[in-house]
Each structure stands twice: as C-alpha cells, then as structure tokens.
C-alpha cells in the first residue's frame, strides 16, 4: 500500500518531502526570470556595442551598433 503513499503502521518512514505549492511558485518565478532574461538579452544585444548585451558603450566615443 505504500505504493499509494499510505503510511502503514510499522512501515518505514519516508525521508523526502513531496512538491507543494511553493515548489510551483518557484517554478513560475524561475520561468518568469528565464523569460525576462531572454527578452532583456535580446533587446540588450540590439543596443549593446557590437551586438553584445553584456558590454557597455565607452563614454566619449561614437555609438555603433552591429
């Protein structure tokens, strides 16, 4: 019966916990962060120097895009 999650008397106690609502919230947050990263990366690569989303334009120099 323990295949169905039932705690039977005398049965060995389980060591892990099962996913709960927080797990689902974390999943949603992770997915949202991933989507935000993708969008920021795409638009950052458009305005970044040489198409790089992580680099910044040097001050005093002309701004060039890829």
């Amino acid at each position: 019966m323990n295949q169905f999650g039932m705690q039977m008397p005398g049965g060995k106690a389980r060591r892990g916990s099962s996913p709960d609502v927080f797990t689902a919230l974390l999943f949603v947050a992770t997915v949202s962060l991933l989507a935000a990263c993708v969008m920021v990366y795409i638009h950052g690569s458009k305005i970044g120097p040489n198409g790089s989303a992580f680099k910044i334009h040097e001050e005093g120099q002309s701004i060039t895009f890829k």
């Binding site: 892990g16 996913p19 992770t30 962060l33 935000a36 920021v40 950052g44 305005i47 002309s62």
Partner: protein, 287 residues
Amino acid sequence: MHILSKIFVVFAAVLSILLAGLTMAFAVNADRIKADYANEQSRRQAAVDALASTESGFSSERNRLQQQLADLNNSLAAKESEIRELQTSNAREISAKREAMSQRDEVSNKTKVLEETARTQSKLIDGYRTEVTSLRDNEIQFRRRELELEDRINDLESRREVLEQTLRSLQEQLTEVKNSLAAAQGGVSTSASGEATSTFVDNGPMITARVESVEKDPSSGAIFARINAGSNDRIRNNMQMYIGRGDEFIGHLVITQTDLNYSIGRIDTLGRKVDVKSGDTVLSRIK
C-alpha cells in the same frame, strides 16, 4: 523542501544574477544612447542652422549658376549652330576635296599621257635631228653649188646686159635713120636731133595702135593716153594721130613722149564731150 524546489531556487538565483547584469548593462547603454541622441539632436540643429545659412548662400549661388547655365546654354546653342555650319562647310570641303582629288587623278593621267607623248616626241625629235643634220649637210652642198651657179648666172647676166645695151643703141640708130628717112619723104621740119618742132601728120605707111590707158594730168587738166606703139613703129614727138572707136571719130592725139614700144600723147577732143577708153583705135591718118 522538495528537490525540485531546491533546483528552482538555484535556477532562480542564477537567473536573477544574470538578469541583474543584463539590466545594468541595458540601463547604462540606454543612458549613453540617450546622451548621444541629445548630442546628435543639438548637432543636427546646428547643422540645420548652418544648412539654412548655407542654403541662402547657395540660393544666390544657384541663381548665379542658373544665369551662367542659361548663358552657357545660349552659348552652347550658338556653338551647336556654328558646329552645324562647320559641318556643312566641312561637307562642302570634303566634296571639294574629292573633286580636287578626281581632278588630280585626271591631271595625273594626263601627265602620264603627256610624258608618254613627250617620250615619243623626243624619239621623233632625235630622228628629225638626224634627218635635219643630213639635210643640212646636203643643203650646204647645194648652197655651194648654187653659189657657183649664181656666179655663172651673174656673168651671163652681165654679158646679156651688155648685149642688150648694144642692141638698144643699134635700134635707136635704126630709128633715127627711119625718122630721117620719113622726114625726107614727108617734108616735115625737124630739129637738129631729127625731131619735128610743130604738129604734123605722118604721110608714110599707116600706123595702127591701141589705147592702153588714159590719165588726167592734175596740174594742167590735160588728158593723156598711152598707146602700144613707139619709136620702133615710127612714132615721133608732135605727130598728130586720130582716135576712133569703130567708125566713130573720137579726137586727136598729139604725141608728147615716145619710147621703143610705147608712146604717150595729149588727147584733144575738139571741144566735144566724149571719153577716150582703153582699147580705142589710134591711126596715123584717116583712111
């Protein structure tokens, strides 16, 4: 905590860090771009102002250039018309050149013909020169012979003239003898030289002659006739003869000058209006 929750927490942390970096870079780049955009805006405004001022200058320059362009267009039209005229003139010159070339060819052909003619004539002249040389030699020989013959002819002529003079003197002597004889027979008074001093009529044998010519003396107005009988025919000066035409009596002829074969006498028409003509008959006396 479930293992999935832990994994999601790790992923969320990593993504948060990544998103933070991306966001910072995005913000800085956006700020730079904004500042650069503002600079570009001010630069563009300055450029627009400069452009406006430049355009005003360009407008006058454009007007000047348009005027210059119009002048150049007019000049170009004039040049094009001049080019057309020059092309027309060039066409005429080309046609004249072709004509001149054809004439030159024609002259060249004529020159060749003339050269050939001159060559032929040169050959002919050489032949003629040879012939003339031989003819000149022959002529010199003939001239020498002619000179010899002329010398001989002159000798003979001089001899003939001497003989003629002798014959004439003999005839004159014979005429004088005849006149003397006739005077003795007719009783005419003669001068010392045997000539009659007044008009007389010959009573000897009939003398018949013809009038050769009739002339009028402009000084005296007298009319003189020349007849074809002279002293050889016993005609003497002052002899009165009779001029007739057929059976008609024309007038008298008084001899004023005699020669051996002709005589000249003055015509006397006895006041009648008749003319003596060549061919009229002259008789020594009326039959």
